[in-house]
Amino acid sequence: MIDSVGRAAETPQEPQPYAELGMKDDEYQRVRDILGRRPTSSELAIYSVMWSEHCSYKSSKVHLRQFGTKAPKSEALLVGMGENAGVVDIGDGWAATFKIESHNHPSYVEPHQGAATGVGGIVRDIMSMGARPVAVMDSLRFGAADAPDTRRVLPGVVEGISSYGNCLGLPNIGGEVVFDPCYIGNPLVNALCVGLLRKDQIKLATAPGPGNQVVLFGALTGPDGIGGASVLASATFEDESQAKRPSVQVGDPFMEKLLIECCLELFAADVVVGIQDLGAAGVACATTELAAKGTGGMDVRLDLVPLRDPRLRPEEILMSESQERMMAVVTPADIPAFMEICRKWDIPATVIGEVTDTGRLVMTWHGETIVDIEPGTAADEGPVYQRPYAEPAGQHALNADDPSRLARPGDLGATLLRLLGSPNLASKEWVTSQYDRYVRGNTVLAQPADAGVLRIGEVMPGASETVRGIALATDGNGRYARLDPYCGAQLALAESYRNVAVTGARPLAVTNCLNFGSPEDPEVMWQFAEAVRGLADACRALGVPVTGGNVSFYNQTGSAAINPTPVVGVLGVLDDVRRRVPHGFTGPDERVLLLGETTAEFGGSEWAHVEHGHLGGLPPRFQPEVERALATVLTEAAARGLLTGSHDLSDGGLAVALAESCLAHGVGATVSLPPGDDPFVALFSESASRALVTVRPESFDAFAALCGKHEVPCTTLGTTGGAALSIPGVLDIPVETLRTTHEGTLPALMA
């Protein structure tokens, strides 16, 4: 039996399983008030998913607004927050769209498929803007490197990202791998995708034009990820719904690759009025969002949705999270051309409905009306919470526990090697060698560079030539954010921004993924509120707007939440990609320069973590003017061809930056530390806004003048060359030793 609108009106008292679907009493009551009757089970399915934390941002909305209200003026911003992904003008008629999204919990349950479908989902977001996806990145957090469950989760996650991303033909140009015991039951898998399109080809998720057809295309709809919906189906109906309902979704990257090519051909043929990817909440979300942003009405015949399992109930079809599906709005005249292109790519496509001007989303199931709602009430008018927040009880004590009390090392060379071989600083080659970084032939920089860099000139057939390039980096430091979420979020932005700048690119725009514990815990909510406030302030101070992002709450086991982990992605542009600055020391006889200022900042540092297992004090200071001046120097110097290599300073400080610079091309260096500085502080402090660069001796004066003009401190450390990293009187380590130390750790852990 079908729970139709008519039946719902006649049976107002029928009990409904809203609580099992995660709805609060007052939320359910609001749905009844909106409809003036009880919802049908299909309507309940729609409201429950659309009003979930995941889709409605009900706990985060009031805070995220700051990304808009505090946004710096930016002429580059073409599409801001609120769409599937933000779009940025990168010049010469080109635009870039990028976004980062989490797939944390699914990756814990089934690491391979969870991570794979995370990549699949973010790629479809980028496609839905009308862009060709051109690269992916992945920012990962796991429990302790030697924990047994890490050996289950990490290889699976990496294999999932690798198999899905490689099969799509998207180069993986960067990311992070971080270990910390706090992530043991809550690994973080944040996937980023970037796409390119012509500025005048932006597509939006909207369904205008009554009479236009609604087409569902891509994979068939199956019982994927609808554990919740089966509660619904079986609560009202005792019959057929005995089928198992997996909460795990399995991805089909081959289908997604075909979908990409098919969509690009559809865009090129100009047969798409509006488009939306199907992600969380599937058809429910796509139809309500498209209808809400269009003329306001849509009729859908849900029984036309092509199914992989014919037993699916309408509620389950609405909530199915089957992967590799898209929804398009197409004029009736263009339908034949649309279908022809889908046939060419072997993509199933079905007209399931029509745009109307009724202002209502109406769905039928074999002739019976099962949904009749105002789409905006589900898509835009969900509950909004002002969750209480309070500084964590232990916060003050944590900040007071300053690392200055920790014993400092005698042998700095041994300390460097221990840091360099520690899981967080060790080479990530075990991971990155499983990713194709070359496909499509436009990768200019990828691992181990600070940022991924792509040439954009040859992206689309017939594209006009341009010498521009884009750079992308993602960063986040949960330990800094634990010590001070406001500052920690700012430092995540600062590092990502700096990573883009050291390649010579001008930072333009920001995406972010905010990974936190439960918003119902006031102490977590405080961390969240502080992090958002910090990030919004930092974006304004650095002049880079937030274009989009994602919030992931409930990353906690029992009452133990993860460290607050805002992950920030920055996109930059190189006016001439041939001027990009390579990573590290690229040849002998070049001058090694340190930019920026070092003070003793060890709170949350790798040194405190690796050598003392200590987390306390305050993170390094964030000084936006200094960070901005550094980026200006780096990009100007790159454009003028003054730099032969670069590397930013971050985790592990100058010591680790020097070692990594040597490892990049197997070129050693002999350097001395700034006179008067404590060698330990000079080498291991993690003060922000610093970078290493190399210049040819003849470029030094011009570069020094540039630093002077922007008031960026520039200290000559020494010269590149030789087969060792040598700091006379402090340490002298063959590059080969650095290499075996750096490269041995992960393979040994994963063997």
């Binding site: 294999e159 690798s162 198999s163 490689n166 099969c167 799509l168 033909g169 089909d252 990257p253 081959f254 289908m255 690759k257 075909l258 790519w345 072997d346 990155t432 060698s433 499983q434 990713y435 194709d436 970084r437 070359y438 496909v439 499509r440 032939g441 436009n442 990768t443 200019v444 040439r455 040859e458 990609v577 041939r578």
Partner: protein, 226 residues
């Protein structure tokens, strides 16, 4: 002489077709797109089967693609002497189509590997390697999960004695028998390689250097001499 026309085949799931076309252009020839479902080779002078995951590499790499309508035209043309290069998935397809002997199976280390690989050119007597010198060492990226070359002892012996091992790994990354990275057919017109010369064309992008260009300039040399 007008520019040589080199067909670049796209199967569903092919990924490196744009790279392949770029490589052909870099060498001074004209790339001609060929679609798997067509039965027309469009009069091309040579064919490049690029890498990727045709049909998702489901079942076995190259197993489904070899039945494509275009392959029905390509196989006899290759047997009749048309120069054909297959890299990575293209190599797998050529083996599945029995244009080349042996098979490519899962890497011994079980993981997909992307890295800049040192190789030695073992034969310059093919349509695609005449621009190199025998024994020349080059660095060209590899990126594959199923690149371990296997063949029975008899086939291996025939390949070795016939000078048909075209490229060998220096430091075997995947467990290939005899360190084989690429082989040719008896006539030398059909070559299959796991490495990706089309990703080693320019200093700006891809792997280090331009060592891959020779495969494409070889072809032009071969055709001028033909």
């Amino acid at each position: 002489m007008s520019a040589a026309r080199v067909g670049v085949v796209t199967f569903p799931g092919t990924l490196d077709d744009q790279d392949a076309a770029r490589a052909v252009r870099h060498a001074g020839a004209e790339p001609v797109p060929l679609w798997h479902a067509d039965t027309d080779l469009r009069g091309v002078d040579a064919v490049f089967l690029p890498g990727g995951f045709s049909y998702g590499d489901y079942l076995r790499c190259g197993a489904i693609s070899r039945f494509a309508p275009l392959m029905g035209e390509l196989v006899p043309a290759a047997r009749a002497g048309l120069p054909v290069l297959g890299t990575c998935n293209g190599f797998q397809i050529l083996c599945e189509a029995h244009l080349l002997p042996g098979a490519l199976v899962k890497n011994a280390g079980l993981h997909y590997i992307c890295r800049d690989q040192r190789l030695r050119i073992e034969s310059t007597a093919t349509a695609w390697t005449s621009a190199y010198t025998r024994g020349q060492e080059v660095v060209i990226p590899i990126k594959h999960g199923e690149g371990r070359y296997v063949a029975d002892a008899e086939t291996l012996a025939a390949l070795e004695s016939g000078g048909r091992v075209v490229v060998r790994y220096l430091g075997n990354p995947n467990g290939s028998l005899n360190d084989i990275a690429g082989v040719s057919n008896e006539a030398g017109n059909v070559v299959g390689l796991m490495p990706h010369p089309e990703h080693a064309l320019e200093d700006l992008t891809g792997g280090p250097g331009t060592d891959g260009l020779g495969f494409f300039t070889s072809l032009l040399k071969t055709m001028v001499n033909a």
